[in-house]
Symmetry: C2
DNA sequence: TTTATTTGACGCAAATATACGTCAAATATT
DNA sequence: AATATTTGACGTATATTTGCGTCAAATAAA
């Protein structure tokens, strides 16, 4: 990258793009789905659920954790993960805003 | 990639991830925004709007076109772009579904 | 204490994404 | 006809993502 990436676009746009990027892989979507459904949310259980190595799954978990969508709680040698309520709410608002912005009748080409 | 990517996850998950990926760059979000607001939607006008070279913008436009969110209409030497109504509606439904799936009270960690 | 589990950090290779210059084709303008 | 504009295809360089094996640390089990 030649230029400072973060300066090229406004902050809102950058942040929204990052949110979408966090959701842009089926493994990460599956992890979120699993956490939304599951009773237990141990790292190992999540790995077992996905057709990827534990290491790779761990990396996806890390990404979701870094963006704040999930959180981990150490429980002995294990780590329990779950959806982070606040961030999920934030995500919902962002998605709704995005949808609303596209809600126009400006389809000039058709 | 060692394995066949498309077989690892179910089709819905893959397709949704692809949609999110299309939205995972500020330039592409800006293009959608611009098309939603703009009267004119000529390729050149879009490039002028973004802090990237025309070539790069063109590439982002191509991605959005390939996933079906926008469509182009040749008008002499120019090309007019606009949001593709049907796909935008589809996107809205997908986002809403995604939101609904996360709408749980299963926050075990907190 | 010794051995087994579970986890995350680290490093590496391959695949993709991003950014951009150049070029040729098509159309407009002169 | 000659020149200018607009566009997309192509090639290329760099950055990032993805996937995974190995390893050490922490805890649990024997």
């Amino acid at each position: 990258m030649v230029q400072a990436k973060s300066d090229l676009f406004n902050a809102d746009l950058n942040e929204r793009a990052m949110l979408f990027k966090a959701l842009a892989h089926p493994a990460r979507l599956r992890i979120l789905q699993f956490l939304a459904e599951s009773e237990s949310c141990i790292t190992g259980d999540i790995s077992d659920e996905l057709p990827l190595s534990r290491t790779t799954v761990n990396q996806h978990i890390k990404e979701l954790k870094e963006i704040g969508l999930i959180q981990g709680q150490i429980d002995g040698v294990r780590t329990k993960y779950c959806l982070c309520k606040d961030k999920v709410e934030e995500l919902k608002v962002a998605l709704q805003e995005f949808i609303d912005n596209l809600d126009i009748n400006n389809y000039k080409c058709k």
